[in-house]
Every structure is written in structure tokens, then in C-alpha cells.
Amino acid sequence: MTESAYVEKLRADKVSLWKQTRPLISRLDIELTERCNNNCAHCYINLPADDKAAQARELTTKDIQNVLLEVSSLGAMSVRFTGGEPLLRDDFEALYLFARRLGLKVLLFTNATLITPHMADLLARVPPLEKIEVTVYGMARESYDAVSRKAGSFEAAWRGIRLLLDRQIPFIVKGALLPPNKDEMEQFEEWATTTPWMDKPPSYSMLFDLRTRRDSEAKNRHVRSIRPSPEQVLGILTRRPEAYLKSTKEFCSKFMSPPGGLLFSCGSGHGGACLDAYGKLQPCMLLRHPDTVYDLKTGSLKDALTRFFPALREMKATNPDYLARCARCFLKGLCEQCPAKSWTEHGTLDTPVEYLCEVAHAQARYVGMLSESEHGWEVEDWRERLRRFSGKEKD
């Protein structure tokens, strides 16, 4: 239909609907469950699908509907349903329709194994208005099932993906680079280009996070053992050297500078929040330190967003090692160090994570911003180095 005098089309992903102010929250991420029907060893959160104790603690349908009502009333335009595997919840359809009927867009993170013809029909009839994000664990039964550690999951996932394709439900795919599928990147990326909604190569998780509940040292040992070395990470990131350099230059010109003593230098808790499966509100999905979570069952989203999170964002680091290194390091934009990573790795908010530090330094040395013997926190002329690398002045 052509444009008219009365109705104007909007692409909410391109244009902010908020022109004069900002909503208290633009999107709420909701972990509908920590349970998953896969059993991936690299996962930071998964519990068995039949974990009755976990299921009994999960927010009820009504609890989540009340949260959706509040998030909509505060101006959010979208929610993310994630997990665990969100489609495991018996009330997924009810929650999905409830959110959509509030005018919320729904971003669904799924492994696609539980997408049935009925679910695909629903998603086709009532579109989520956001591309579904499907994580693909392998291009072959052997690799996929070796990652998911669930027999039959390969067939289930690809059946779900075919249903999405058949019904033209927009989705993108992501990968998780693990020993069983590490040789399938080219095959995966080639296939990804054949799906209609991928406008760039798929992203991968590879710097796997430790258990965010800090509930299993054995699982954490395994995660550490399957992480690629900093050199391997660099090799993967620079497979397409020109594209890597271009994006890194662009990124560095915007996001590189020493973060200083404030703990939160990211946007966590500012315009967004994450709700865990049991009613605790977190500034980000990984950060479950008891000092940084808010009990939504005894409070409100508005209170968390206007009082609790702003106070968090004023928190300062006290760890001398962090203050001597991370707080003074201009590689912030290349480094994933943050309170959440410190929490998962060390149970604190401000302990340097050596692995992340090494990955950041490997990248900085590759692009010539550091010499082999230098560290990011020792560099006095970091602005000049950034300017030389990116060709732009740091704001």
C-alpha cells in the first residue's frame, strides 16, 4: 500500500520511537527457564529439562504477565525470551501472545529443537516482529550431538529450522565454536548465506563464560579446557583480515579509553534489564552477584530502574590489582572484563580475568597498538596510538 496522509510507516529498528525523552526501559530480557532440553557442556546456565525443583521455583505465568504489563507501561517496545530453552515452558504460547497483545515485539533465543508445526504456525500468524535467533551447534549429526550431548537433537534442530524456512519466519543463526564443530565454520557460513535474513556472517560464541550461578567447579574446569587460546581467538577473528581491521578501527575510535574506577563502564542497567527465571532482576544476563540483583517479587521494575540500578552504576572498584591494571587500561573496548566476568570467574566484581586480558592484548598487538612487551595500562600516549590506528581522533 502506498504512503498516505494519515499513516506513516516506521522501522522501529532504524528510528527511535522516543524523540524527546528516553523510556526507563527499552527492552527487558527474560530468562523464562534455566532448564534446557540440550545438555551442552559449555553452557553457563543450563539445568536438566526435567529438573522439577528448578521448575517449581520458576515464575508463574501470572508473575511473568504482570512483569510484561509493567515493562510495557514503562515504554519498552520489546522483550527477549531466552533461557535455558524458553520453548520448554508449557505456557510459552500464552506468554508469547500476552506480550504481543501488549504491543511488544518479542526477540526469541532458541535452539529450534522444540519448534513444532503448531509453534511455527503461531509464529507465522502472529510474527514476533524481531528476527528469531537460533544457535546452531553443528552441521552434522556427529558434531551437533557431540556439543548438545543429546541424541536426536541434530534432527530436531534442523526440523525446527526447516519449519521456520518453510513458513518464511525471519530468523538469523549463530554458532558456538567448540572442538566438535570447529572445522565446520566455512560450511556453516556458506549455508547461513542461503537463509533469507542473514545480512552479515554469523556471530560465534567462543570465549565461553563460566557458570553464572557458580554452581559447579567441575563444569567450570571443562569450560576453561575448551576455550580457544588467545592466539586461536586471534586466528579466528582475523580470518578475514581486512574486515577485521575495518571493524576494529571503527570500534576502537569509539569505545577505547581507560574506564577509570567506576565498576560499570558498559550500559548495563541503563535502559534495559534482565529478569532471571525466579524473579531476580539483574543489570545483565551474567551478573548474579548477590549485591547486584533486585528481588522483583518484593519490588517493582520502576523502583529497580530508578533507584537500584542507578546506585549500582555509581559503584567503584576497590581491588588494587584492578585499579592498577583494568581501570587504567585503554584496551577496554577490546576486552570483555566487566563485573559479570569477574563474578563468574572469581566471585567478585573487580578482579581482573587473565584470559580476557590476554585475548585483548593479543588483538592490540596484532593491530600494532602495543609492542610485545607492553601492557595496555602502561601506555601514556594511548590517544596518539588510537589516532594512528583508527585514523580518527578519540572523542
Partner: protein
């Protein structure tokens, strides 16, 4: 699909869309497929459309809406009727409105 506009009829927002108010603007969010050309398309109404939309409550006829707007804005009813009819016609075609009676 009935798209003929009858001024003696009553119209209401369709259940195929959800209307939200953001900073005083009406944002129409499709609920079902096929409302927009793109899957993630949203819509907003201009000032005229906004004033009419708020009165299409499933109770008032379009004639009553015209009379109300004419009284409020002091404009000729014939001019307002053109806008009301044009607006309703377009939103019926877009499946954003439905006839409740008439």
C-alpha cells in the same frame, strides 16, 4: 473485506493491531502477519489521524465523530467528514479498523 465507509456506522480498532501511545504519538503495532509490507513494520498516525483514531471507540457513529470534531475545532463538518471518511477508508484497507455495526 468490507472497505466501504458508511458515515452512520460504528468502527473500532481491529484486534489485528495493538495501539500504543509513545510521547503523545499513536504507534500501531501489527499483531498478525500481513498488516505491513515488512514483518517488523510499525505505523504512526499524523495529527488528523490521531484525533480521529481516539474517537473510534466502537460506540460512536462516524457522523457523531464528525460532529464532535467540528464542535471541538470549529471547522466545517463537510471538511472534517472528508478526513474522517478518508482515514477510515485507509485503515479499513490496512486491516487496522473494523466495522462494529452498520
Amino acid at each position: 473485506m468490507e472497505t466501504e465507509v458508511r458515515m452512520g456506522s460504528v468502527y473500532a480498532p481491529s484486534e489485528d493491531v495493538v495501539a500504543r501511545e509513545i510521547e503523545g504519538e499513536i504507534i500501531i503495532v501489527p499483531l498478525v502477519a500481513g498488516i505491513g509490507d515488512m514483518e517488523d513494520e510499525l505505523f504512526t498516525l499524523n495529527e488528523t489521524g490521531k484525533n480521529i483514531w481516539g474517537r473510534l471507540d466502537g460506540k460512536k457513529t462516524l457522523n457523531a465523530v464528525v460532529a464532535e470534531l467540528a464542535g471541538e475545532y470549529g471547522a466545517p463538518a463537510t471538511e472534517i467528514a472528508k478526513d474522517v471518511s478518508g482515514f477510515v477508508s485507509e485503515l479499513l484497507k490496512r486491516r487496522m479498523l473494523v466495522a462494529v455495526s452498520g
